[in-house]
């Protein structure tokens, strides 16, 4: 077949078009697949969701421990009311068809509650910046989830989604920690002045 002529191009198209689309493997691959199938497809948390859960629990538990260590002596009931005007925290999901590990959701809920309690004490400019950052991360999460619906199992998208969740939770944890430290410092300062 000499290169370049339109006749050659047509012949090549014919050859390519005539190739079988289907080739059976030499052995039955089903037993190996079946052995790796867990029940209830798509409704369980994925393996890498556990990584996220572990990371988030670490952040959350360290925040809670820090809270216990530096918590002001105000009664616990003062911590309970959540601000109705706090930033919207969208429930997390790893792709449209995936439920998250309940522990992950609890950890995220705890961080969101703590954030809601502290956000009113933040300066207006910092608060709007925080809300914009969280909204941006949540928008990114939605877009990556949509992309994952089209490209299921894409490792880059999955990693990106995991990073986005972690970034969102990292922002929440950092804000909680900073506002707590700020409150503790103010309290220490007041006590010093009283002395």
């Amino acid at each position: 077949m000499s290169p370049g002529t339109s006749q050659d191009e047509r012949r090549l198209d014919q050859y390519l078009g005539a190739l079988p689309k289907s080739i059976e493997p030499a052995r039955d691959l089903w037993p190996g697949i079946e052995a790796r199938m867990e029940p209830a497809p798509g409704r369980r948390a994925r393996r890498w969701a556990w990584q996220a859960a572990a990371a988030v629990l670490l952040v959350a538990s360290s925040s809670i421990v820090t809270l216990q260590l530096v918590k002001p002596r105000a009664p616990a009931v003062a911590e309970l009311p959540a601000s109705p005007s706090g930033p919207a925290v969208v429930p997390a999901a790893f792709g449209p068809g995936h439920a998250l590990d309940p522990e992950y959701l609890v950890a995220k809920e705890q961080l969101a509650e703590m954030l809601a309690q502290r956000i009113d004490a933040m300066p207006a400019s910092a608060r709007s910046k925080l809300e914009a950052n969280l909204a941006e991360l949540q928008r990114a999460t939605a877009e990556i989830n949509a992309a994952l619906a089209l490209q299921p199992g894409d490792p880059l998208l999955e990693e990106l989604l995991l990073n986005t969740y972690q970034a969102e939770l990292g922002v929440m944890a950092n804000v909680n920690q900073l506002t707590r430290m700020n409150g503790t410092l103010n309290q220490t300062e007041s006590a010093r002045i009283r002395l």
Binding site: Y15, G32, I33, G42, G97, P152, G153
Partner: protein
């Protein structure tokens, strides 16, 4: 065993409806429905993996990985494309992920012609020699050109679909296809000239 991609529109619609019913049953937990999907589509998935990787054993592993990922992500399938196309996207991701992890893999083309020859020996027994020659010539292409030729040239995906699957620009896709076709014509021309 091998389809030639010549199904009528009615047959395609029938198959799509059947696939959707099986997907719904599998999402509810029916592994037998998923096995039916496997039996229906394994040839096209394995064919794609074999042609993209040029490695018989690896293609089997990646076919299994594709169906395991499909099972885990089944709830994400939205029927906007055919189930076969959705599987192909997962398979391409599996191939690219494996290639990233084992960059040396795609240099192992020494045995592919023999492997493809073995696989296709029975199937192509009464056919013109050009089919087997063409498979061997495709297997001998550089990886980038081979990926594009397999997706666009053999499986008929558009440049847009092919570039999206491979994560490359449409222009790159067109250039790689042009290069692949040129190399194929040269190779097939050389074979024709041999006595």
């Amino acid at each position: 065993m091998q389809d030639r991609g010549g199904d009528s529109e009615f047959e395609k619609a029938q198959r799509k409806a059947r696939d959707i019913g099986r997907v719904e049953a599998a999402v509810r937990g029916s592994s037998s429905a998923f096995e039916d999907l496997y039996r229906e589509h394994v040839g096209r998935v394995y064919g794609l993996c074999l042609r993209m990787t040029a490695d018989h054993a690896l293609a089997e592993d990646l076919t299994q990985e594709t169906f395991v990922q499909a099972w885990r992500n089944l709830a994400r399938f939205e029927a906007r494309s055919s189930f076969g196309t959705w599987l192909h996207r997962i398979a391409v991701n599996a191939v690219l992920g494996q290639a990233r992890r084992r960059s040396e893999l795609l240099g192992e083309t020494g045995t592919i012609e023999q492997q493809l020859g073995e696989v296709l020996e029975d199937e192509t027994a009464g056919e013109p020699g050009s089919t087997r020659d063409l498979e061997a010539a495709i297997a001998g292409l550089p990886p980038g050109a081979r990926y594009v030729l397999v997706l666009a040239g053999v499986y008929g995906y558009s440049h847009e679909e092919t570039s999206a699957m491979l994560g490359v620009a449409v222009g790159t896709c067109k250039a790689q296809l042009h290069r692949a076709r040129k190399l194929l014509r040269q190779r097939l021309g050389e074979q024709e000239e041999q006595p």
